[in-house]
């Protein structure tokens, strides 16, 4: 699904060169649920932005669903992002002026679906997160947990193969966080690949694989299978 080979990401200012990712290689298989952990400033967000095609790489190769993204134009990257990737953010990032229906509609508009198709997909997605009855509400009229569920509905409405979640439960209380995590697990069970950045080791443990980034490099890999922890070497994780 996602294959990064020897990726480097360098931020260059007039005086300073910062290596956000260094010789970074990772492979995520279709249907996997991967947690990404690491201390602040380690490069998790950069990884997520690159995986989400929001930032270019400085060098290396990156293939998404078998297609190399190196050298693609902005409109090609946007189309790929729209068709294959769903985003869930810590701060929900719903557009405040748009109601729930319109928020979920955003990625579908850029996809070029007909009005009928869009309506059907939006209703389905909101139904799935249990908010179909509130589709005319504005985000400000919902709780944090509800807003995150709308964000998940928006991410899933276009039926992407790959879901990127950046601290999806970071702004939620433990009960809400549990509900959202259960929702993500269900989504994964239906075949969607998920990569989730999190600081919460409990959540990371619920995924199939945890990768840790430190100083822009992959440094630890752990496989969780049926509640038992199994350490793997780097080559195994990359493969």
């Amino acid at each position: 699904m996602l294959k990064m080979s020897s990726i480097n990401k360098v931020y260059q200012t007039e005086l300073v060169q910062t290596h956000a990712l260094r010789d970074f290689s990772l492979s995520v298989k279709e249907g996997e649920f991967v947690a990404v952990t690491g201390p602040s400033g380690s490069g998790k967000t950069t990884f997520l932005n690159i995986a989400g095609l929001l930032e270019n790489i400085s060098s290396g190769d990156f293939q998404l669903d078998g297609q190399s993204i190196v050298g693609l134009s902005d409109s090609e990257l946007s189309r790929l992002r729209n068709e294959k990737i769903g985003f869930i953010f810590q701060g929900f990032n719903l557009i405040p002026d748009l109601n729930l229906f319109e928020n979920v509609d955003v990625p579908l508009r850029y996809r070029g679906f007909s009005r009928k198709e869009r309506k059907q997909k939006i209703e389905q997605a909101l139904e799935m997160v249990g908010l179909a009855a509130r589709m005319k509400h504005l985000p400000s009229q919902l709780s944090g947990g509800q807003q995150q569920r709308v964000a998940i509905a928006r991410a899933l409405a276009g039926e992407p193969k790959f879901l990127l979640a950046d601290e999806p439960t970071g702004n939620l209380d433990s009960l809400m966080a549990k509900q959202v995590m259960e929702l993500l697990e269900n989504i994964n069970k239906q075949g969607t690949t998920i990569v989730m950045v999190t600081h919460d080791p409990e959540l990371a443990r619920r995924t199939q694989r945890n990768i840790q980034i430190v100083d822009g490099q992959l440094c630890d890999f752990t496989m969780y299978q049926g509640g038992t922890v199994e350490s793997v070497n780097e080559q195994e994780a990359i493969a």
Binding site: R81, F89, Q90, D97, V106, D166
Partner: protein, 437 residues
Amino acid sequence: MFSYYLQLAIKSLKSTPTTTLLMVLAIACGIGISMTALTLNHMTGNNPIPEKSSQLFSVQLQASGKTSEWRTIDNMPVQLTYQDAVNLMRGMPEYKHTAMYKTGFSVRSLDPKFTPFLRSTRLTTRHFFSMFNIRFLHGAPWSETVDKNPTLQVVINNDLNEKLFGGGDNTGKEMLLNDKVFQIVGIIEAWQPKPKFYDVNNGAFQAAEQVFIPFILSGVHEFESWGNNNGWKEEHSNTYQDKLASETLWIQYWAELLTEQAKDEFQQYLAGYVAEQKKLARFERDDARGILRDVQQWLDYNNVVGNDSYVLVAVSFMFLTVCLVNSIGLLLAKFLRSAPSVGVRRALGASKGQVFAQHLVEVGVLGLIGGLLGLVFAYLGLTLLKNNFDGFDFVATMDMTMFFAAPVIAVSATVLAGIYPAWRVCTTLPSIYLKTQ
């Protein structure tokens, strides 16, 4: 996608009502002022008779004294003497050409209770009406015989017809011009060329005459000119008859020449006449000649659209630029404030081009609203001019061209001004806002 962008634009403008109002007002002021100036310039520069403007020619003769100076670029007088006008009308009967001048009368119906009023009147020949494409509602011009034999016949326009008789076909009825009874032979539609090209004396935007009588009457009745009388020669001119025989210039002269050949022939006719008058020692100058100018050349020659009109348009568009620069600042602030939403849209699959287009549509909607309000401002401005200053009656009027031009100019100018703010917001790195929102 356009309808989607339109929906987003309306939502966005509604979400920031104060900023939107400020931008709309800035654009409306700029458009209002510039459209007022542009309308004045457009109306003064209007071709008053486009279908024939290259076939109608004013006639000028260099008939003045050796040292006479005229305020024209070629030092030619713009009017003719009475005797030249009468002489010219005798020749070239195969072409329509006519002398004319403005006078005026106290006008009333034969009803003794009718209160008289002053109306300017044009003395001309029957050709005047067909040359200038004037439509008759009732009757027809006076006959060729009347052009040769002084007869008290009159053509009036429909406004006057309504004032005198309450409208309808009143041909055959009589009316009074001063103390003389004239018979009405024709009633024309209300006719107002803008500018009044056939006689630009005392301003090219005066009202057209409502009364027309045969030119030949000027030889038998003392109908003084209400226009300019230009004299260059010291001569006894104590009576009206003296004036007719004098070198005083006060007659306008026009010819309809439909082909190049006709124009050449008429030009030769003028040359022959000038040569003849030189022989008679009437025309003293070495450069004595006859000149033909078509309508557009004539309007340019008389500076109907003065340089100040162009300066006014330039200044008003500078003002529009200042208004738009202010709007750019407000737009930039508004768009950058919405950058987090743009970041979300980019993450969800919007390309830079789509974000750019979305914001340009918003700018276009803003320009359209500003343009429509600007139209109202322009209308108020023109009304203010019309009501408070003389000479703006026929100029300070917005025609359909200007009416449709205003929103087009507003949208184009605003979209142009909105390119930079839209570009700034679409090139912002979305990842910055996704984390920090």
